[in-house]
């Protein structure tokens, strides 16, 4: 048991105790690493696919969180980049190009250009207008996707084979799982460095007090745009992985619904924490699974929930917005900061 904490004015004794939130984060990552093994033991390959999906959406939400949680730029259009990554893989595959490195290069370069242009336009608007414009642009690309009849239009199209990288075989579900996991961990670490580096401090300063940041001489616009592009590229990579996982590409990936999901996931897990959105993704997608296959034997309610689970999800989103101050993981971090430091 920890001794009673000293009053706030005196310097607190330095505790050599690892904060709870780090345990939680570590446990989560460890659990994710073990899923394929457990899944194999249980003979349920389905879990590998489900958790792969969770990690992909977690990755996208982690990227989105860079601008929403650390930068206070609420983008309601990041699903656009998810879709872009997916289409990059899909369209190239469609035309017979299966080289994973080409997919990656095209997705990242194209995504960077797209995000820079869109980000620059969106950042012309302040506050609420920014949110509305990001939504509008995502919708624009959704309609673009729908109108591309040669790529299936509204229905989308299937991909014959996953991205081919020489040294890994993504066609193996477990291998793909670990690739997704590796990318997720790498991105988390890179963002961890970033938010504590000079760039990250400027971004966080802009969230905290933008007026002061300008008065201190910072290039706030360039920093925000750069952060936007970085977060977009994380979503592009997530989109590439999604296309590989489902072997399917569709404009539905770019719907406003998906952008909204990403925001809920980030808030549910904990804005302004790195791994919070991953926690949020696990919780949200678990909820989706549970609701859409709801059958605890409550008679009519079962079927009602199963058929209209999206409505229940809506209520959950509403409650998250009204009630959650810090998010699930964020609450743990907040409590640690209160008692520890």
């Amino acid at each position: 048991m920890a001794p009673p904490t000293a009053p706030a004015t005196a310097a607190p004794p330095r505790r050599r105790r690892v904060a709870l939130h780090l345990w939680v984060a570590g446990a989560l990552l460890l659990a994710l690493a073990l899923v394929p093994l457990v899944s194999q033991l249980l003979g349920q390959g389905f879990y590998v696919t489900l958790v792969s999906r969770m990690m992909i959406f977690g990755l996208a939400a982690v990227g989105l969180n860079l601008v929403v949680g650390y930068g206070a730029l609420v983008s309601f259009g990041h699903a656009l980049y998810l879709g872009f990554g997916a289409y990059a893989v899909g369209v190239l595959s469609f035309h017979g190009i299966h080289d994973g490195w080409v997919h990656l290069a095209v997705a990242l370069c194209g995504g960077a250009v797209l995000a820079t242009v869109i980000g620059a336009v969106c950042l012309r608007a302040k506050g609420v207008a920014f949110i509305m414009i990001t939504l509008a642009f995502a919708q624009m690309f959704y309609f673009l996707g729908v109108s591309l009849k040669q790529y299936g239009g509204d229905d989308g199209f299937a991909i014959d084979m996953r991205s081919q990288f020489g040294f890994v075989d993504l066609d193996n579900s477990v291998v793909l799982y670990y690739v997704i996991f590796a990318v997720l961990v790498a991105v988390l670490y890179a963002l961890y460095r970033l938010v504590n580096a000079r760039f990250g401090m400027v971004l966080r300063g802009c969230k905290s007090n933008e007026r002061r940041m300008a008065a201190l001489g910072f290039p706030t616009h360039q920093v925000k745009l750069t952060a936007y592009v970085i977060s977009a590229l994380v979503c592009v990579v997530a989109g590439m992985l999604l296309a590989n996982l489902t072997r399917f590409v569709s404009p539905a990936y770019m719907q406003w619904l998906v952008s909204g999901d990403l925001l809920v996931i980030a808030v549910l897990g904990g804005l302004g924490t790195l791994i919070g959105p991953l926690v949020g993704a696990v919780l949200w997608l678990t909820m989706e699974e549970v609701l859409s296959s709801f059958s605890p034997g409550w008679g009519m309610v079962d079927e009602l929930v199963r058929n209209h689970w999206l409505g229940v999800a809506g209520v959950v989103a509403l409650l998250v917005a009204l009630l959650l101050e810090h998010g699930v993981y964020g609450a743990i971090v907040a409590r640690d900061e209160e008692s520890g430091s």
Binding site: A197, G205, A215, V223, T226
Partner: protein, 250 residues
């Protein structure tokens, strides 16, 4: 030789003339105080000097160069630093992180993505030194949201100094401070004399008369007198317009 020169500055808000042909000049190392009744337009003036508000007419010259159209960021990088009447710091960060940010702003180099700032000596050392200077060395690792008002005003000052400016615009640095805290702040500002050209907006008359080399009195946006502390104290127009019954107290 002047470091900051303001001539004929005018700012209107609809029918209201907030700044009415204001004039000011500040020599390097001088503390030039601006006093005047509430609503005289002092913060509006500071906002125009810092670049946050665009004047309708007039000229602002920094070391001879016209800067009236320059944006806030340019002025900050060229040596004009301001502090805010209503404390404008970063409450979620520690005192040290606040000053480190200010130091970073002055030094440029925001596009570094990998090295943690906490291990960047070029940010940490100067920040610690500044915190020591303003008397906040002990609370460097404390989150600003947990600091008292007086400490936050000191932090405001430290952040302004971090820009290593040529001109400091101090907007009521002693606002809301207790008598003791104000005296500390006066001692601090006295140490800054000679190093920076300072425009000091203040209501605390003891502080103003203790610190100012020259004083300009501002009423309804106009400068009605400018001179040394003694000259202002004895100026009949000033006594009438501003000091009023308080003249006895001085």
């Amino acid at each position: 030789m002047t470091i900051l020169s303001v001539k004929g500055l005018v700012k209107r808000f609809g029918g209201l003339v907030a700044t009415d042909h204001f004039e000011l000049d500040v020599a390097p190392g001088e503390i030039h105080a601006i006093i005047g009744p509430n609503g005289a337009g002092k913060t509006t003036l500071i906002n125009q000097l810092s670049g946050e508000l665009l004047p309708d007419e007039g000229s602002i010259r920094l070391d001879g160069e016209e800067i009236i159209h320059r944006p806030v960021r340019w002025r900050a990088l060229q040596g004009i630093a301001r502090s805010y009447q209503i404390t404008s710091v970063f409450p979620e960060f520690t005192a040290l992180q606040n000053v480190m940010l200010a130091v970073q702003g002055a030094s440029g180099g925001s596009f570094s993505f990998w090295k943690p700032v906490s291990s960047d000596a070029t940010l940490v050392q100067p920040a610690r030194a500044l915190l020591q200077q303003v008397g906040l060395g002990d609370v460097a690792s404390r989150r600003v949201s947990s600091l008292a008002h007086g400490a936050r005003r000191q932090l405001e000052l430290a952040m302004t100094m971090a820009l290593k400016p040529r001109v400091m615009l101090l907007d009521e640095p002693m606002a809301g401070m207790s008598h003791q805290e104000s005296q500390e702040m006066v001692r601090l500002l006295q140490k800054l004399k000679g190093h920076y050209g300072i425009v000091l907006v203040e209501h605390d008359m003891d502080a103003v008369f203790a610190l100012a080399d020259r004083i300009t009195v501002m009423v309804y946006g106009r400068p009605i007198a400018c001179g040394t502390a003694d000259a202002i104290r004895n100026d009949p127009e000033v006594r009438r317009a501003y000091l009023g019954e308080q003249a006895e107290a001085i």
